[in-house]
């Protein structure tokens, strides 16, 4: 009985995973991620991966909003910051002192509601207007948080501090064990977030999103409630963006205005372009590449390598060159490989027929949907809710 199930699961696994190289690669990468803490001795490297997980959640949420619903947001840091500040206010012992398994859900739901409000401009403005309007939101909020009359609540740029840790360090724990715990928590959340977003993107709702992305007027003509779906896109994206902010807050154990910084709005954009826009898995790869390149290769490995082999000690001012190198890489990639690294790789490995249609971002879902329609008999037109 049990063996039959296992055998069936195995055979379907072989059929669905091992047959498709792209999926196989993803599966192997996932396995690597799962077991990597056993191979890493140094907590600094684990920390890099933890931060990569957080950034990946954040970037995936951005990718969902922009790549799937077509609403360009350059101010995604606002969700990050709002999530962080709400959970900080709720869990700080100076205010409410709630446990974090309560505050994080409350925070992301609250962020969801705020995302609804912030999504309203998206109904009026679009394209570059929307991008630049959203870019200003986190800047406005950050300035208000630092405003002197509000200082007694938000404590200015000092922020709210002394928060509980994401994974509390019990008496018997070493710092390494705590890091491993944090790593798995963030990895599970990343996995959950990306699976949920992937499922949404490939569901009927996702199809509606793509139709709005492709042609808003035609979608409207088909009876799709564009308003509702656009706001929904903002809410879903805001929810996961806020989740990333909550995790970050409890990792650092404080929330402060740099959570709304412009750089934090640009980071998911860069990371998503690195991996591949509109793919959900692309940003994850991009986030890992970003952190490994920036925090491991350029910050740690290269200076050590040069010191040990060539005998050159890089001056601390090399930091200025680091950002330069990284940005140059991004620039070249965006120009030469507009589909992103991850998508490029999967296209090379995967089915060439599929790859041909990938020049436009999005229509891939059409294919998935059509395939589903063939195999399942329940394929119905996306219901237009008016």
């Amino acid at each position: 009985m049990v063996t039959t199930y296992i055998r069936r699961a195995y055979s379907s696994f072989v059929a669905h995973v091992f047959d498709i190289p792209a999926r196989l690669l993803a599966f192997l990468l996932f396995l690597t991620l799962l077991f990597i803490p056993f191979a890493i001795q140094n907590t600094y490297y684990l920390r890099i991966l933890i931060l990569a997980n957080v950034l990946a959640i954040f970037a995936v949420s951005w990718d969902f909003l922009v790549g799937r619903t077509g609403q360009i947001s350059l101010g995604h840091a606002i969700f990050f910051g709002i999530g962080g500040y709400i959970t900080a206010l709720l869990s700080s012992s100076k205010f409410f002192g709630l446990p974090i398994f309560l505050t994080i859900p409350i925070a992301i739901l609250a962020a969801c509601i705020i995302a609804l409000a912030l999504g309203i401009p998206s109904l009026r403005v679009k394209g570059p207007y929307l991008a630049l309007v959203t870019m200003s939101f986190p800047l406005i909020l950050a300035a208000l948080l630092k405003w002197y009359p509000l200082n007694h609540i938000f404590k200015g740029e000092f922020g709210i501090r002394g928060l509980p840790a994401l994974v509390p360090r019990l008496d018997w724990m070493t710092i390494g064990q705590q890091r491993v715990g944090e790593y798995y928590v963030t990895l599970i959340l990343l996995f959950a977030a990306s699976v949920i977003l992937y499922k949404i993107a490939n569901s009927k709702i996702g199809l509606v999103f793509v139709s709005i992305l492709d042609d808003e007027l035609a979608s409207k003509a088909c009876g799709i409630n564009v308003t509702k779906y656009k706001l929904m896109g903002f809410m879903i994206s805001g929810l996961f963006g806020a989740l990333a902010g909550c995790i970050q807050t409890h990792l650092l154990r404080f929330a402060n205005p740099p959570m709304f910084a412009l750089t934090l709005s640009f980071l998911p954009v860069i990371v998503t372009f690195l991996g591949g826009l509109g793919t959900i898995y692309g940003p994850i790869v991009g986030a890992y590449i970003y952190y490994i390149l920036d925090s491991y290769v350029l910050r740690d490995w290269l200076p050590r390598f040069l010191k040990e082999t060539v005998g050159v000690t890089l001056p601390p001012e090399f930091d200025f060159a680091k950002l330069l190198i990284f940005t140059l890489i991004v620039l070249i990639l965006v120009i030469k490989l507009p589909r992103g690294i991850a998508k490029f790789t999967t296209d090379k490995l995967g089915d060439l027929e599929e790859a041909r249609d990938l020049d436009e971002r999005g229509p891939r879902i059409w294919k998935t949907y059509k395939k589903k329609e063939k195999t399942t008999s329940t394929g119905s037109e996306p219901t237009a809710s008016s």
Binding site: L144, L323, L324
Partner: protein
């Protein structure tokens, strides 16, 4: 109090308008949201430093002939070089991703960061002194205004008028307007859009450089590697509030933001510390009322 808002608001408004002009121009013609606009502002300022103030390339010998020649030559050279650099950068970096809205934003943001880091590596972090071109101050309605600000204000208005005439009367200006209205039709009429885009980019960057020199010399009086962020934020909010691609929109937007900033700084308790969000707030309010800004084109549902 009201004099303060009127005088200081008008002076900063004029400079802001000049800053925003280049941003709106390049968008209006080629649809590029150039997030590296602030960087050209900074490049212009640094080039002015290199030609006019630092020892190596300095044109100080010219000053021996006439004290105004040195800074003037440095100003012209700085603006010209910024134009050349921007045209080259446009060709190498922006052109390949033209038409992809997000792609353009990503490459221009990357470009801005690269320029910032390059300047950090070449000039180092310390602030560099940019002397005011003229000294002294005047009293307007009992308020002290430095002569340099008055000069910057005047130059802004003159450049504005020159650009207005250029776009409306000259052949190139007509081509620009034609391309901004309908690119394909303009191409069919034999306009070389690529060259026109490059020219517009250079023009836009030159305006940014001029704004850079005048604003830096009149307000901050120093150049630092991160003086691009604030001008960028200002110019995009002004341009959006005035309507992307609209020249008179950026003029009006600049003055609105200038007055609003002064009004908040003076009228709101501790208003000084939220002065930086005034442009954004004005922009958001205007956009909620008029989705394409004050003078923006109507929303097109389809291409």
């Amino acid at each position: 109090m009201i004099e303060e808002i009127l005088v200081y608001g008008a002076i900063s408004g004029g400079m802001y308008a000049l800053l925003a002009l280049g941003f709106t121009l390049i968008y209006g013609v080629s649809g590029v949201v150039n997030l590296a606009h602030g960087s050209f502002f900074m490049v212009g300022t640094y080039l002015f430093y290199v030609f006019g103030i630092s020892g190596f390339f300095s044109l100080i010998p010219l000053t021996l002939l006439d004290p105004t020649w040195g800074p003037l030559a440095a100003l012209i050279l700085a603006i010209a070089f910024t134009g050349v650099i921007s045209a080259a950068l446009y060709r190498i970096i922006i052109h390949p991703v033209l038409g992809d809205e997000i792609g353009v934003m990503v490459v221009t943001v990357s470009l801005a960061l690269i320029i910032q880091q390059l300047i950090l590596m070449i000039f180092g972090p310390p602030n560099l002194r940019i002397n005011p071109l003229v000294t002294g101050s005047k009293q307007i309605w009992g308020l002290g205004v430095t002569n340099m600000r008055l000069l910057a204000f005047g130059v802004s208005l003159i450049l504005f008028i020159v650009l207005w005439i250029f776009t409306n009367k000259s052949k190139v200006g007509n081509a620009m307007r034609a391309v901004s209205q309908d690119r394909e039709a303009a191409m069919l009429m034999g306009i070389n859009t690529e060259r026109l885009y490059m020219l517009t980019m250079a023009l836009s960057a030159m305006l940014a450089a001029a704004a850079g020199v005048f604003i830096t010399a009149s307000i901050t009086e120093y150049a630092a590697p991160w003086i691009w962020l604030h001008p960028l934020a200002l110019s995009f909010s002004i341009v959006i509030l005035g309507g992307l691609g609209s020249i008179k929109g950026s003029l009006l937007g600049g003055f609105i933001v200038g007055y609003a900033e002064q009004a908040v700084a003076i009228g709101v308790p501790e208003g000084g510390s939220i002065i930086s969000i005034v442009p954004f707030t004005v922009m958001v309010i205007v956009l909620l009322l008029r989705p394409k800004g004050l003078f923006g084109k109507r929303i097109e549902m389809e291409d």
